[in-house]
């Protein structure tokens, strides 16, 4: 100790022994400390990368051009309107250099093609991270002082969703995620407010449980509650992981709480046929009625085949009561006024065939082990408590139970949630995307008492949902309206009068879009009145024939009465008219033969329409567009002419290319088309 003290005091003596020497030493120290800042600057990350970049480009052929583009020093993109100060381009120097296509080392890669110029959007709008930081780690990862790490590339589409509210071609994952949020009813429990003031609406279409005892048995409800996917693999209902007694009590309550549908509806379905009908006839009626356009069935290979508008029917026989099924097939709108199922006008014979066919779609093992004793009042009361606690009424209508408000945490700002407010599981990386995706995959792993049920999403679906949720940021809500791209407002168009009631009854909107409302399975009918001829429409409604033979989803036959057909035809021909042209401006026939011949030449040579369409069934094979053998009896001449000149103007998004056709060519082709009549095809050849 003594020796080290001696050393120190001698050191002091040497440095500060006399005033001049002390002055010199202090000045030196001061100089050194002044040099710290410039030195830090000199040895900073970005200088290192800029030097590396210069070395990289020196040996390249286009070195001079690259050298000219290169700017020394800290670069910055400043966008006051968006609150963006991005210095990323200080190190990422080659982002805009198209010739750096072969460079794969970061930070010198060029940026892949995107629709927005980097100068106008900056980097953090899409990638997140700390734009103002000039140190690699602070810019990219979540270090002590910074909250916002870089968004993993797999979720980058979420950033598009901050401004774009409608689906985009380039963001399939975001589109899917938003669809799933609505389709699986996530937004029934979790409110998601939209910047325009509305809220995201669910499309899960969960059935009302107020009359459920009419439809199914307590045993089925029990089995369904225990594991919905055991009944139907594609079911959107999640698994609540209920204990046996809880499932028993909920099923007891739902049956006890159910009231019959007003009126004697079940016996109206007719009685079961004594002799079992031909099973193949039931299957072919199922096919002819195009049930598979909306309903799926799991085939022997385990694949789900069919549409997803209606519920999967693989084991429907286990679920529904025969008398309910017959009443439903007779008129589904009595049990559920808003159902997407059309009211087929089936005959008694057809109802019997179909109901037996469907009833046979059953799995004898499904309910084999379900044995429930008659419920006690306590069990029913407990069931009611459970139904309230689990928020069943968020999705399902249940008489006597109100739809809960704010049942689950609101997700309007989930994409900007500070990490400090989250509770992570041990072993999880502390970043928001991982937290969200873990919550979706295994909600109960965050605590057994949590109510959120278990969904059976695929890894791709979880990523899509995470992407959609990450798009719900503070910026989504706060962006000035001129900078956002809103979705078209949802249309609640309804047709008026008697025809309107028929259109609702036949659930036309389930497949067709009219005035912005409806499905996309079948053609948009907004301007159908300008498009088709009255007689063809009447015949088609009576007996829909095949316009596009390659399609597996076609218009079913509804067995409409003549008066219903006249009503619908009149309405469509009068109301669904395009303002773009006069329907009657061109005659249905009587075109000069020379013009017809010219049209035929154009059809087969210049425009080669036969690659997609069939006019002569002997020679033409095109299977993409509708068959045109009878187009002269189907479409209006003026519609054809305008369609040929610009198909997308009449039906946005149609795949027939715009040929930029001259008026003369379009008229000649129209003349040729109008000779293709249902009975006059031979006449055209004369």
């Amino acid at each position: 100790m003594q020796s080290s003290r001696n050393t120190l005091s001698s050191l002091w003596q040497t440095l500060f022994g006399d005033p001049i020497r002390a002055f010199g030493v202090v000045s030196l120290l001061l100089l050194i400390s002044l040099a710290i800042a410039p030195a830090k600057n000199h040895f900073s990350d970005w200088r290192h990368y800029q030097k590396q970049y210069l070395t990289l480009i020196r040996s390249r052929g286009e070195a001079i051009a690259l050298q000219r583009h290169f700017k020394d020093g800290i670069q910055q993109i400043w966008l006051p309107e968006l609150g963006v100060v991005d210095r990323c381009t200080t190190c990422h120097v080659g982002l805009k250099e198209a010739s750096l296509v072969d460079v794969s080392t970061q930070p010198f890669r060029r940026h892949p093609a995107i629709p927005h110029p980097i100068d106008q959007f900056g980097c953090v709008m899409c990638h997140r991270g700390q734009g103002a930081a000039t140190i690699v780690e602070e810019a990219h990862s979540s270090t002590l002082a910074w909250e916002q790490p870089i968004l993993p590339a797999r979720y980058v589409e979420s950033s598009c969703g901050q401004c774009h509210r409608a689906p985009l071609t380039g963001t399939p994952q975001l589109n899917l995620g938003r669809h799933l949020l609505a389709r699986y009813g996530c937004v029934n429990c979790h409110t998601v407010k939209l910047p325009d003031g509305g809220s995201m609406r669910a499309t899960d279409d969960a059935p009302s449980l107020s009359h459920v005892a009419d439809k199914t048995t307590r045993e089925w409800i029990y089995a369904w509650l225990k594991d919905p996917q055991a009944y139907a693999v594609s079911a959107t209902m999640p698994n609540f992981k209920l204990s046996d007694p809880d499932a028993r009590d909920i099923s007891a309550f739902l049956i006890a709480n159910s009231t019959p549908v007003p009126g004697d509806t079940l016996s109206a379905g007719g009685t079961a046929q004594k002799t079992p009908p031909d099973p193949t006839a039931g299957a072919s009626l199922y096919g002819e009625s195009f049930c598979a356009s909306c309903h799926a069935v799991q085939n022997a290979a385990g694949n789900i085949v069919g549409g997803d508008i209606g519920p999967e029917l693989t084991r429907i026989g286990n679920k529904v009561k025969p008398e309910w099924l017959r009443a439903w097939l007779r008129n589904p709108r009595i049990y559920d006024r808003e159902t997407a199922m059309p009211h087929y006008r089936f005959t008694d014979q057809q109802i019997s065939l179909l109901s037996v066919f469907l009833q046979n779609k059953a799995d004898s093992d499904l309910l084999a082990n379900v044995h429930l004793d008659a419920p006690t009042p306590e069990q029913i009361a407990h069931g009611k408590t459970l139904v309230t606690e689990y928020g069943c009424a968020s999705c399902h209508e249940i008489s006597g139970i109100k739809k809960p408000e704010n049942f689950a945490p609101e997700l309007t700002h989930i994409g900007s949630k500070p990490i400090t407010q989250l509770i992570f599981l041990p072993g999880m990386s502390h970043v928001l995307p991982d937290y969200i995706s873990a919550k979706i995959r295994q909600p109960r792993s965050f605590g057994l008492a949590l109510k959120m049920p278990q969904y059976s999403f695929t890894p791709a679906q979880v990523d899509a949902l995470t992407t959609a949720l990450l798009s719900l940021t503070d910026r989504t809500q706060s962006l000035p309206p001129p900078l956002t791209v809103p979705a078209p407002p949802p249309s609640n168009y309804r047709a008026a009068g008697k025809a309107g009631r028929l259109i609702d009854d036949l659930a036309c909107f389930s497949c067709h879009t009219i005035n912005g409302r409806g499905g996309d399975m079948a053609p948009d009918l907004t301007w159908e009145g300008s498009s088709v001829q009255r007689q063809w429409l009447k015949d088609f409604l009576k007996n829909p024939n095949t316009l596009r033979p390659a399609l597996i989803r076609r218009m079913p036959k509804f067995n409409l009465s003549d008066s219903d057909i006249t009503e619908l035809t009149d309405y469509i021909m009068t109301v669904y008219q395009s303002p773009a042209f006069d329907r009657d401006s061109m005659p249905p026939s009587g075109y000069p033969p020379a013009q017809v011949e010219q049209g035929k030449q154009l059809f087969y040579s210049k425009y080669a329409c036969q690659s997609c369409h069939i006019v002569d069934t002997k020679t033409d094979k095109g299977y993409i567009g509708p068959t045109l053998t009878q187009v002269g009896s189907r479409l209006n001449a003026a519609w054809i002419c305008h369609w040929l000149k610009n198909p997308q103007a009449l039906r946005p998004g149609t795949i027939e290319p715009n040929r930029n056709m001259s008026d003369e060519d379009a008229r000649a082709l129209t003349a040729f088309m109008m000779t293709q009549k249902s009975s006059g095809r031979q006449g055209a050849k004369k």
Binding site: V101, P112, A608
Partner: protein, 244 residues
């Protein structure tokens, strides 16, 4: 002074030990119970997915022995460029000799060369090369447009949902994967034939023009997609990401 040094040394030794202790203990890795002599792909290669996303189908490989019988319990390891993730990245084959893994592609568009490997009884390593394709934003747009406007004729494969028109055409279109033909065409040629139809390059009029239907950006996107999926790969197209 020396005590100070001693203390510093002690602290550094403790730190170094702590650093070592955090490393996973060896021996917990999977132990192979079977050994094969061949590694084949069962399904899941040549898939097309968006950058950074999980491929829709898992990658399944199978280990066989000399007689071509499936081997159970063989250790298979997957590897690829650093940005690609496998779940799981290694595992033992099941009773049918197969191992399946979910592949998450890297963040750049391009072709990803992946490797599956297993050891023979003689501890010789067998590799299986697999290729997957990642679409960036531009190729993704091209893919969607291609599916909507082009695939009905250019893709000979039919599904119940989309019946191919390929067989109905007198002059057969080139599938987008047909690199032998398409790689010889320049970007300008492809732009011309898409915009102005077959006759622009003295080819069949059955190929209609899309220049008035698609925008320039959309046609560019379509071409970048075609370039990415062509087989053999298009030379000037994006980087190939492979393990160093």
């Amino acid at each position: 002074m020396s005590r100070l040094l001693l203390a510093l040394f002690a602290v550094s030794v403790i730190l170094a030990n702590a650093g070592c202790a955090r490393k996973p203990a060896p021996g917990t890795a999977l132990k192979a119970t079977g050994f094969g002599s061949a590694l084949v792909e069962s399904s899941g290669s040549k898939q097309i997915g968006a950058t950074g996303t999980v491929l829709s189908q898992p990658l399944v490989v199978q280990v066989n022995d000399d007689q071509g019988n499936a081997v159970t319990g063989a250790l298979v390891e997957f590897s690829g460029p650093a940005s690609v993730r496998f779940d799981p990245s290694a595992g033992l084959t099941d009773s049918s000799g197969q191992l399946s893994t979910n592949v998450t592609l890297g963040s750049m568009a391009g072709r990803y060369r992946l490797t599956a490997s297993t050891l023979t009884k003689a501890q010789k390593k067998i590799d299986l090369k697999i290729e997957e394709i990642a679409l960036g934003y531009q190729q993704q747009v091209g893919y969607q447009l291609g599916e909507k406007f082009c695939a009905r004729c250019h893709n000979p494969e039919s599904t119940p949902e989309r019946v191919s028109n390929f067989d109905n055409l007198e002059v057969k279109p080139h599938p987008f994967t047909e690199g032998d033909t398409l790689n010889k065409m320049s970007d300008a040629d492809l732009t011309a034939i898409i915009s102005h139809g077959g006759p622009a390059l003295n080819k069949s009029a059955l190929m209609p023009p899309y220049g008035y239907t698609l925008s320039k950006t959309e046609i560019q996107a379509l071409i970048s997609y075609i370039r990415l999926v062509s087989d053999p790969p298009y030379q000037a197209s994006g980087t190939v990401y492979a393990q160093k």
